[in-house]
Symmetry: C2
Subunit: 242 residues, 2 copies
DNA sequence: AAGTGGTCTAGACCACCTT
DNA sequence: AGGTGGTCTAGACCACTTT
């Protein structure tokens, strides 16, 4: 292309940024296919190789899925791979687990100072707060509080506590167009408090693995705060660092 | 119908495998530069683009570092970025820490059944076992046991316990050509035992974050087992999932 | 000015999926 | 057979580092 640009940003980065914007805007809903490489490349006025580079980066970032012979689709949270993408809890023998969730409470409320800070919203803004227990093999092993900024999830409080699905990220994406692209987790060891002891049926002071999670969308906005306290008798948190 | 799958390995993957082999063999020691893309491409009889694809993958896997205008070098563990690559422990305010190590004991021994299993070596093979404490801000916060298969580190037992450097991976690489390319960590919460209590100056039963780490080299061989038990009063384990 | 990696192009062919 | 993404090539030009 002959457009003289004072920009330093490589062409494929510009294309990538544009694609992120269009995907975020819902131009291609989750699970649907983008136009082919050749078609997109022509629309953008770049070569197929340049466009491909943008698509490959978005694929590496789990935003797209490419199928040889079929096309390129916007990623969903439905596939098995995606389901376990953010779930680092495993059995100590290495086997994967699919926890069952049990809602304890769920309601809209004003954000606590800590929630405001973590979610990066103004103090006292309205949030939706869910408490739930997660069971593995019928035993309560996770005591969890999930907080959402209501601004990003209008009408979320009209969903009854008992109607919440097991996999929330799929709901966020399908109903609100909120795509969780990155989570940040901070772990430490804590002693079980009275609520933990009651809900998880462990003695007071029992060592729990605490996981504080922040979820970010494609543009880097914080979309969820999650505080999980886990009994790790038969479970462990598994991580790979390359 | 047992359809024999015709193995099709792309050219750039073959080149990549060959480069891994040559780097592992020490043909280009850590920190030194490889021949230029054009030179390597000609030697392999492939196009520059194909060779570049191999180099870029190795760069993504932190095995190489590419400098525009200068060349491509074998990565080391010296840079600040590399130093913190496997260190996920941070202060709770997010600040990085550089722990100081204090050797408690270090000696060769026969592998315990658990060590054999984790290191994937025959039962009773000789290992080198190091116990150490790690201090942050002068306070003992990590109680750690590190086990190495002596076969991979001949003569390691001749290093005195007090001569061990703070950053072991740099030593592995420089003295034994062992490049740690990937670590796998499994975390849980445990209660402090008598040894923990004494060394970390916490009450018996105090909640500790336990990190079991396996380190792998470029070819996927287990090269180190590390069992760390951490006081997380002012520290946390930080992780990002994409 | 020369050499390196980084971007971009255009075209060929291969592997895979669908019709 | 036709379309899709995956690999491979050859060449051009740009950005950066060194001489």
């Amino acid at each position: 292309m002959a457009a003289a640009k004072p920009k330093f940003l490589p062409l494929y980065q510009q294309v990538k940024a544009s694609l992120i914007k269009r995907i975020s805007a819902g131009e291609w809903p989750p699970g649907t296919f983008l136009p082919s490489e050749t078609a997109l490349a022509e629309k953008y006025g770049v070569s197929q190789g340049t466009l491909r580079k943008a698509l490959i980066e978005l694929t590496n970032e789990r935003c797209l899925v490419r199928y040889q012979g079929k096309g390129t689709a916007v990623a969903t949270f439905e596939s098995d791979q995606a389901l376990f993408r953010f779930l680092r809890i495993r059995r100590k023998d290495g086997k994967k687990v699919q926890p069952v969730s049990l809602a304890v409470s769920a309601r809209a409320d004003a954000a606590t100072p800590e929630e405001s800070k973590e979610l990066r919203i103004a103090n006292g803004k309205r949030v939706y707060r869910m408490e739930r227990i997660r069971l593995i093999d019928g035993r309560a092993v996770v005591n969890e509080v999930i907080t959402l900024p209501l601004e990003l999830f209008p009408g979320f409080d009209s969903i009854g506590p008992s109607n919440l699905p097991n996999t929330l990220y799929d709901l966020y994406q399908k109903s609100y167009g909120v795509i969780v692209a990155l989570v940040e987790e901070r772990l430490d060891a804590v002693a079980a408090d009275a609520a933990d002891a009651k809900r998880l049926k462990v003695p007071l002071g029992y060592p729990l693995l605490r996981i504080l999670r922040l979820a970010f969308d494609l543009k880097g906005t914080v979309v969820e705060l999650r505080d999980s306290r886990c009994v790790t008798d038969s479970l462990e948190y598994s991580n790979e660092i390359r």
